[in-house]
């Protein structure tokens, strides 16, 4: 059996060897991290955003790179998933975007500070994390089984293809809804349907009524009231007009003003 001295040598020797290896790997990591994290893109805005992130302890509720607390969503890919415009509106007043949900702190950031936070999160989203967060392996299987993730498919005319007006981006809709194949990555999961075919379910007036105050139509809805936060009353009309204009059946008269205007 080992003597006490041998045991001591095992301890000291093992520690020295493995700590040595650890130091070498640390140096190597230092040399590689700048490339893996696109360190050249760490602008002053990103640094300022990181300081805001730290001085408010956002990590005390959220995870970033999977590190932090488990009370609020993982934020590594949030810019990609939600879009910058959505984030700008959200951070100004978190409770307005998720009424009745678990609470985030309401910070009184300036627009510049919000830009910094977003720049930081955007940089984080592009770091090569060796595959994290993984694509959910069972998502496709579930969808193939026809399990709806909140989106109810409906039959009807195929919506038209058109460029998406800016209001859908600035108004944050695209953060939750898929429109013309864009956006909606995270919103589909809380049951925000793609908006292209909304004309099959709602008339122009119903759309206006809905957007103006979703909770009035459906009290337990997860869609926030965005009028006054991200869009104006006039934009509600603009949105509704555009959404119904995607209906190929009614589109011809309204959607083709240009040819109609040509005198024969």
């Amino acid at each position: 059996m080992l003597t006490k001295l041998q045991a001591k040598v095992f301890f000291l020797g093992g520690t020295a060897v493995f700590f040595g290896i650890f130091l070498v790997l640390t140096i190597d990591t230092h040399l590689k991290v700048p490339f893996q994290t696109n360190a050249k893109d760490i602008t002053s805005a990103v640094i300022a955003g990181k300081r805001i992130w730290e001085s408010n302890n956002c990590m005390g509720c959220h995870t970033l790179f999977g590190e932090g607390a488990y009370y609020a969503p993982e934020l590594t890919k949030v810019v990609e998933n939600r879009g910058k415009d959505w984030l700008k509106v959200f951070i100004k007043n978190p409770a307005a975007m998720f009424p009745g949900q678990r609470k985030m702190v309401h910070y009184n950031f300036t627009d510049e500070q919000i830009d910094h936070v977003i720049a930081f999160l955007e940089w984080c989203g592009r770091v090569d994390l060796n595959g994290f967060p993984a694509e959910p392996p069972l998502r496709d299987a579930l969808q193939a089984m026809g399990t709806p993730t909140g989106v109810v498919a409906s039959n009807g005319p195929t919506p038209l293809q058109k460029p998406v007006p800016a209001v859908f981006t600035t108004g944050t809709c695209i953060g939750c809804h898929q429109i013309q194949g864009q956006g909606g990555a995270a919103g589909a999961l809380i049951g925000a349907p793609p908006l292209d075919d909304v004309f099959r379910r709602k008339t122009r007036d119903q759309i206006i009524e809905w957007i103006s105050d979703p909770a009035k139509v459906k009290p337990d809805t997860k869609m926030p009231k965005l009028v006054g936060i991200a869009i104006t009353d006039a934009q509600v009309i603009e949105i509704a007009d555009w959404l119904v204009s995607l209906n190929p059946e009614t589109a011809a008269p309204t959607a083709a003003p240009a040819p109609a205007a040509q005198p024969k």
């Binding site: 301890f11 509720c61 993982e74």
Partner: protein
């Protein structure tokens, strides 16, 4: 107790008990917030509650370690503490820094890095404080009549813990590097040098409680801490999988962290076999329960539950979910909370001369807190596994999944009540011991231990 200056340990322990209660109170605040009862959000938002909860944990454990060192070192070195007054200054200033930090967290004053939330200026004060502590016990050992392995391992554990605090204070603009060095503190503490401290305390308790020959106990101590560093240093890699560090960490971290449970397994086998071998059955059953309990629960919480999510293939999905919280609770409890409670259970009768070690309160304290903690771990486990499956594997929305698992937090709170009852009983027993007395200080250790039990 042989030396007057050992009495200071009592006050470190008393402060630790107070902070433990506060820690649990903030744990309840978070538990209730998670079932929608977040009425305190305006004053104590979740991030405040969490920072207070985890920092109090670390502070009370450190106070426990320091108190234990102030008790053990004079005895092992066979002389009075170098500067008993400095120990008092150190205790009070440590508490003051802690209180400022914790009050600060309620006013958004912090550094915002998990477990290292203490703002920078206070970091420096902590460093000075710990230096004073290390100087005090270091010089006591240096000027002592004998050097024992237990004392040396304990000292180097504490010294290394202090040194490893420093990398956590370097500032980086790159989040990945920031996180890289945060783990030098967090991981190399709990899965490295704190294990040295735990090993030394365990060793001391086993020598005292089982009467097995010091040479044998200390030989195994070296082997166990050898295993700890052999696996634990490169095992740090299990935190480098997905933070933007090179891919080779998946392999290195995976292999070496998978070996980490060996050290904990070694610790459990070591404690149990020494207890079995020990000829002298010490009357302080409570201390022996906590000692063996710590060796076993740390294997379950750190070794077994740590292993459960340490392989990169698994960690890809469990990383940053409640599965981590499940492991964190039982690991900290088993390894570090219980070893401190074991030290306290052993030391108090000696300091106060009252042998309250064989009564209903002390055994209920042990069983209720442990059953409560196992149940809490179960609640976190069910919540965590459900979260992993629904959110990470099926791709459902975070908040929707949280709604689904809310019910498990009702379970968590119920389990926590049981746990807290155990803690209250422990503290009640602590209080019944009264203050350290000079008569106890004069009587020899062995003589004190042979006295008949009173309750």
């Amino acid at each position: 107790m042989k030396f007057q200056s050992q009495k200071i340990a009592y006050w470190f322990f008393a402060a630790a008990m107070l902070l433990l209660v506060l820690q649990v109170v903030y744990g309840f605040i978070m538990g209730f917030a998670r079932i929608g009862m977040d009425g305190l959000h305006g004053w104590i938002p979740f991030n405040t509650a969490r920072a207070v909860h985890t920092n109090l944990l670390v502070v009370w454990l450190l106070l426990g370690f320091m108190g234990s060192a102030y008790f053990i070192i004079p005895e092992e070195a066979d002389r009075e503490l170098m500067w008993p007054k400095l120990a008092w200054v150190q205790l009070i200033s440590f508490l003051v820094v802690g209180v400022i930090a914790i009050v600060g967290y309620h006013f958004n004053y912090w550094e915002g890095r998990k477990f290292l939330e203490i703002p920078r200026p206070l970091d420096y004060l902590v460093v000075i404080n710990v230096l004073a502590f290390l100087a005090n016990i270091g010089l006591t050992i240096w000027n002592g009549k004998r050097y024992t392995t237990t004392a040396i391992v304990l000292y180097f554990g504490l010294l290394a813990a202090a040194l490893l605090y420093l990398p956590g204070m370097i500032d980086f603009d790159n989040q990945t590097l920031d996180s890289f060095y945060r783990w030098w503190v967090v991981h190399l503490w709990v899965e490295g040098v704190w294990e040295l401290i735990m090993g030394a305390l365990l060793c001391y308790l086993l020598i005292k409680l089982t009467g097995v020959d010091r040479e044998v106990v200390e030989k195994w101590l070296y082997i166990i801490v050898g295993l700890t560093f052999l696996s634990g240093i490169l095992g740090t890699g299990h935190h480098y999988y997905y933070i933007g560090a090179p891919r080779y960490w998946l392999m290195i971290g995976g292999i070496f962290s998978a070996l980490e449970p060996l050290a904990f397994l070694g610790m459990a086998i070591y404690a149990l076999s020494m207890a079995k071998k020990g000829g002298r059955r010490h009357p302080n059953k409570a201390a022996l329960n906590w000692t063996l309990g710590s060796a076993i629960m740390s294997f379950v919480g750190a070794g077994f539950l740590g292993f459960a999510h340490t392989l990169p293939q698994v960690n890809m999905y469990t990383h940053g979910t409640l599965v981590t919280a499940m492991h964190g609770h039982m690991a900290f409890w088993g390894a570090y909370a219980m070893i401190n409670l074991a030290m306290i259970a052993y030391v108090l009768p000696i300091l106060t001369g009252r042998k309250l070690w064989d009564n209903a309160a002390s055994s209920y304290a042990f069983w209720l807190s442990n059953i409560g903690m196992v149940a809490m771990t179960g609640a976190f486990a069910v919540a965590g596994i459900t979260q992993v499956n629904l959110e990470r594997r099926m791709g459902l929305d975070f908040l929707a999944v949280q709604k689904e698992i809310e019910i498990h937090f009702v379970g968590l709170i119920l389990a926590a009540c049981l746990f807290f009852l155990g803690i209250c009983l422990y503290i009640y027993n602590f209080w019944r011991h009264g203050l350290p007395t000079d008569e106890a200080a004069q009587s020899d250790v062995r003589a004190a231990e042979d006295l008949p039990t009173v309750s």
